[in-house]
Symmetry: C2
Subunit: 356 residues, 2 copies
Amino acid sequence: MTPAAPAPSDKAFVPFVSVADMMRLVHHVGLDEMLRRLAARIEDDFRRWQSFDKTPRVAAHSPVGVIELMPTSDGEAYGFKYVNGHPRNTRAGLQTVTAFGLLADVATGYPVLLSEMTLLTALRTAAMSAVAARHLAPAGARTMAMIGNGAQAEFQCRAMQAICGIDAVRLYDIDRAATEKCARNLADSGLSVTACDSPEEAIEGAQILTTCTADKRNATILTDNMVGAGVHVNAIGGDCPGKTELATAVLQRSSIFVEYPEQTRIEGEIQQLDPDHPVTELWQVIAGTAPGRRSASEITLFDSVGFAIEDFSALQVVRAAIAGTAFYQPLDLLADPDDPRDLYGMLRRAGGTPAA
Amino acid sequence: MTPAAPAPSDKAFVPFVSVADMMRLVHHVGLDEMLRRLAARIEDDFRRWQSFDKTPRVAAHSPVGVIELMPTSDGEAYGFKYVNGHPRNTRAGLQTVTAFGLLADVATGYPVLLSEMTLLTALRTAAMSAVAARHLAPAGARTMAMIGNGAQAEFQCRAMQAICGIDAVRLYDIDRAATEKCARNLADSGLSVTACDSPEEAIEGAQILTTCTADKRNATILTDNMVGAGVHVNAIGGDCPGKTELATAVLQRSSIFVEYPEQTRIEGEIQQLDPDHPVTELWQVIAGTAPGRRSASEITLFDSVGFAIEDFSALQVVRAAIAGTAFYQPLDLLADPDDPRDLYGMLRRAGGTPAA
């Protein structure tokens, strides 16, 4: 800025949480506590599901990936997430999924938070899975099979530990190096960690089966005979058209719970089923208007694809958590002239030309 | 960041152009040159109109305003703008419209530019008006009536001067203070400036009539008898449902040019007309596949509402202009672990806990 330029007013600044700030914030709050806050906020927001605008996500597809905008609003705050999905990115040393998000004040339209959401999405996805498991997993579940040991795996394990009382995880990935990475990262977590050589070995004795693989095709990570009575299946990786992880027969035997049916029928495991196959909306279970698990032998399935309200909840948690901390920087994102009609005058003055 | 945290890699950083940087950039490039570059890029992009994804904007309405996301892509780059419209904001000393935007690489989904767009939108809207006038205004047009002297007014005047050769502007606003502000700001612009007491006085001798008022209702800024043969009407302020500025009879006598008919029929002046009233898409005029002005006596009307491709063009101009300058800052927006699958390990290491 030139010496003549007046400093922007407070209204011009939007708090920005960088990746480094998000990592500092998580360490400051503590990972367990952060996951619990995310789970609590997601439950609160799911309980008032009907007060949200539920716009379908806006996707721009290309041959190599997709870029999506996921907006929602509860009438007081507006949030959206930018997220891409580019499976081949890892070949170039890039993340498959990166994201950032924004909260704004509906009354003025002014943004009030801009945040990285690559890390935050991993955290909220794990918290969401734990919320679903808390309502659906069999009583006394202690062991989880974690099939697919990529970027999301450790977060899933830690959330199930912090929120659902899981104390043992059994890891499997088609790439042994991924399993070893995951086991290393969880070595001091307090979880009992077992690296397995097959999906069959991973599910031995597990009450929760989490699938989170990256392959972009209709795969069969869980075959019909692998899923016994009474387990809870937490299916994360079937999350876009043409990408599923479960045998159709598993779906047929399960009570299926989803976030937003309109989206899940296109993107989730249930894209394999008839469009009128019965599913339960998870928010109704949380609100107490629909049953969750009904018997010890029932197979429950959370067909997770991720929904905008979860991102809204996560941004609200971050907004509350950074208040009074140094874990954000003020970003000069909004032009805010002293006289709102004098944008040109503000520009003039910034150049050192005094207004006449 | 704690001492133990590794510095983010280059891939983690997105160039960010703040409001202060945008003002410095405009002064560095020069306002006239900036407007000319915007006009040139808009023309280039309109000429290849059919290579763009044209998604309708995604709007979240509330009783006091609207928040919109405007995405588009040409298959190589993806852009979107966040923009709000809150007419009552000025009462609280806030801008009616604020905006920011983003460009991303379609091949990877990674953002490559984040920029303020409140100022940039004012610049691109003015450049767009000048592009339309260059193709539609009568030959030798030198005088413009500028009705509505709010935040956009000076930019309209300067763009018409820089790009279309206008040398005189006649200002009118229902609020005399706005006209005085506008006249003051243009005092050293090289334009001959006349402050007028009525819309009728403002249009005397003008070949281009620009309307840009803020009132959110169906107003009649230009009545039928005010619009004579041969003029070009540049209608900016009729830009959302229920907000128009022109008498229907003016529309009936005009050859009407629009950006994107699907959007303009909802938001523009032509919301007053039958849904099949003939209009010409401006990109066809620029591409040479449809005629612009056909006679000296024709009334041409550019029914401007603003379209996502114009924002895409503007972001591309900024992206090119900041290369090699100091008018941006690198923003740590993207998590970029050394191993894309090891997001958790990146978080661990940021807390000073070495990976095992």
